[in-house]
Point group: C2
């Protein structure tokens, strides 16, 4: 099911998007990669967010190989990038479907021809439920799943669905949570009671069990045990529902999300039921990876996964934000033309990884490890450098970021570049 980007690629983009050169005329999105713009040459205004094509391709291949060899499927979380062009590549690379966080994001996927979308969240607003009914009624080939975690939610959904004539019930996954966590039922007994009510509803069909383990993972062995415990809970509920014949359809979906412990999911979630079981990972961040949180967590994934994963090349950071030194007001301090509106700051501050001075460098040099972004304002970054650092007003600095989701959402247009930083495609996002 290849996605259809033709309408999107024909839409105009213009200099109101950050990163698009002022003097360039508005152009269809598909033309952005044909202009020969080079970021290091200063063809695009700073700051710019770039995605390195070679790294993104390697990451997509890595995950394809990982899922193939472990026998699980992936519905990459689209909320990470909200970029249909990236969704299309993920589908081309064998993704089972796309995951999204809400009905608006789902709508965007359906508009470009996605046929299998998992809304990894509770849907309940009448407007949202009505939209699901409309979409499902409009296209028999469209498979949509959403999460249910309470009888209250189910009652609201059922009430709205009574106002619609459905061609088939809406597919839901029951969400399992844990004490102190986010959404999801907290006990097996509660889960079973809810599963029975879902199974009895004519408007919805129980298609599987779901959890989100991502928030449990922070590098420690204790976290690993908690992830395993959560997954065991999903299996237990799935087995109980199977025993009671509560699942609708020929297949049961078991799914867990996150980009920090997908190896544990792939190993622990599979189980044998009376119906075919499909295991769906929902990792989103692997596609660009990062220079921070996921970089650290991925090392644990490799350690846990043994060979060949431990020795083979792993995921690579693909996302960088480039800006310019606008001031060196004190020795040891450089102010950059980027701020909290341009780069993630919720997990870690951006990390300077490269720098470039026109005339001095032919290609970006590695930034010294001592360079450190210590603070962000809305439009500025404070870069601490050694007192004798050779960094001048006008130099370019490339920062890696930690947590791709919160950098993507700051850009309507990211520039995909080759290894020489020539723009090969403009990537539109929809946040």
């Amino acid at each position: 099911m290849a996605l259809d980007l033709s309408r999107l690629l024909a839409e105009p983009v213009d200099a109101r998007c950050k990163g698009f050169p002022y003097a360039a005329a508005p152009m269809p999105l598909r033309e952005v990669g044909r202009q020969g713009w080079n970021v290091l040459r200063g063809d695009c205004p700073f700051p710019v967010a770039v995605v390195r094509r070679s790294a993104m391709q390697a990451n997509s291949a890595w995950m394809r190989e990982f899922t193939r060899s472990t026998g699980v499927r992936i519905a990459p979380h689209g909320k990470t990038t909200m970029c249909p062009q990236i969704f299309a590549r993920q589908i081309d690379d064998g993704a089972w479907g796309i995951t999204v966080a809400n009905v608006r994001q789902l709508d965007l996927c359906v508009a470009i021809g996605a046929k299998r979308v998992l809304v990894a969240n509770q849907v309940l607003a009448p407007l949202d439920v009505a939209r699901l009914a409309t979409l499902v009624n409009r296209d028999r080939a469209l498979e949509i799943f959403f999460l249910v975690d309470s009888l209250d939610q189910l009652a609201i959904v059922d009430a709205e669905l009574r106002r619609h004539e459905l061609v088939r019930p809406l597919a839901v996954l029951l969400e399992i949570g844990y004490e102190g966590g986010r959404t999801g039922v907290r006990s097996c007994a509660e889960a079973l009671a809810l599963a029975r009510t879902i199974a009895a509803s004519p408007a919805v069909a129980l298609s599987g069990i779901e959890c989100y383990e991502g928030l449990l993972v922070a590098d420690s062995d204790r976290d690993r045990a908690r992830v395993e415990e959560l997954l065991a809970g999903v299996r237990a509920v799935a087995a109980a529902c199977d025993a009671e014949r509560l699942f609708a359809g020929p297949e049961v979906i078991l799914s867990a999300g996150g980009s920090a412990a997908f190896d544990i999911v792939a190993r622990d979630l599979p189980l044998r039921l009376s119906k075919l079981v499909t295991i769906i990972l929902r990792s989103g961040c692997y596609i660009t990876h990062d220079t921070g949180t996921y970089e650290r967590l991925f090392e644990r994934v490799r350690e846990r996964s043994g060979e060949p994963w431990r020795s083979a090349p792993g995921l690579r950071p693909a996302l960088e934000v480039w800006s310019q030194v606008q001031s060196r007001p004190e020795r040891g301090l450089a102010i950059l033309t980027m701020g909290r509106r341009d780069a993630s700051f919720d997990a870690d501050l951006p990390r300077p990884i490269k720098w470039f001075r026109s005339g001095l460098h032919a290609a970006p040099a590695s930034a010294p490890a001592a360079w450190q972004v210590v603070k962000l304002n809305d439009q500025h970054a404070y870069l601490r450098v050694p007192e004798d650092a050779d960094l001048k007003v006008g130099d370019l600095v490339g920062c890696g970021i930690s947590h791709p989701c919160t950098t993507f959402d700051k850009w309507q247009l990211l520039l995909e570049v080759d290894d020489g930083y020539t723009v090969v495609e403009g990537l539109r996002t929809f946040f």
Copy 2:
């Protein structure tokens, strides 16, 4: 100089923007306020960002009165909202011009007919400098100002400008900073040396002196003294430049930014020179105000300002993010359908101020003070409530935010509403 929004208002918006109903056809921006959508009725998908028209109008009137009575002018910082429709109202309300943070933002202002724009930042990238030259050469009525804080920056600007035939020199303001601060020269001697070099350059003209006091303000008396000291530095440099006849043109601009101590600026910055002196405030956040940082800081403004400001109604929070309770997974916990992609979290977490249950409420009720957002994920908020709180799955919660800039930049379309939460205009932003 009224701004021209006709092209913008004719541009289509569609359901790819958060807050726009899925089932509504794409429509010109001007039509959004004519649909009769009501946020509380659930006509728009959650989360939504709303701006309360009555509060925004009151804030604009407050600032008009404040500047009129203190004899200063304002060039509101456009980076706060990046909303041309709001810029137009600020100009209609007597603003001297618009302030922006970079050339891309300037370009957007010029495109809608702004004739006076202050880039409150160092400009130096060749692409940026070239754009300034193009814009100034294209329109003799256009006044653009930008900041210079180093000889290195000036040399880069001069070098680029030698490649252009300018109809007139570019107007610059010299930025004064302080030790431990952001940009800006750190000493009076350094400032004067730079001012002399600017005055000697054929490509740029020294039009005034500038500082940004906003980062010095955090509620304490010590901060107040530091603001006064910084402003004294601006006055001293201005007087010295005036004595040396370094200012070009018939007028000298003295400007300071920020929304936290504009009263001190209005009181302390004016001085008598051999030329007409115009004092320009650059506050941006006053237009929507907030429920947090600026709410606290504004109380200090009122205390310092004496009567009538102390007793008269002050600025009001206009910006709210509404979302829905999607889960009540534990007693004392509600999960909301909004996250760090929807509301500011750099200063404080969003504060629940209102709630609404269809069928129970005719209008939003005040949220109990004990309700507290304690954590955000990308798409979720964790709301702690007392164990016996009457808050159900499906209820709506309206949050005030702290620091408007970082909420505006998360929305391409904000919904301006009347006091009954009916949408009266769609506000487009360009981040």
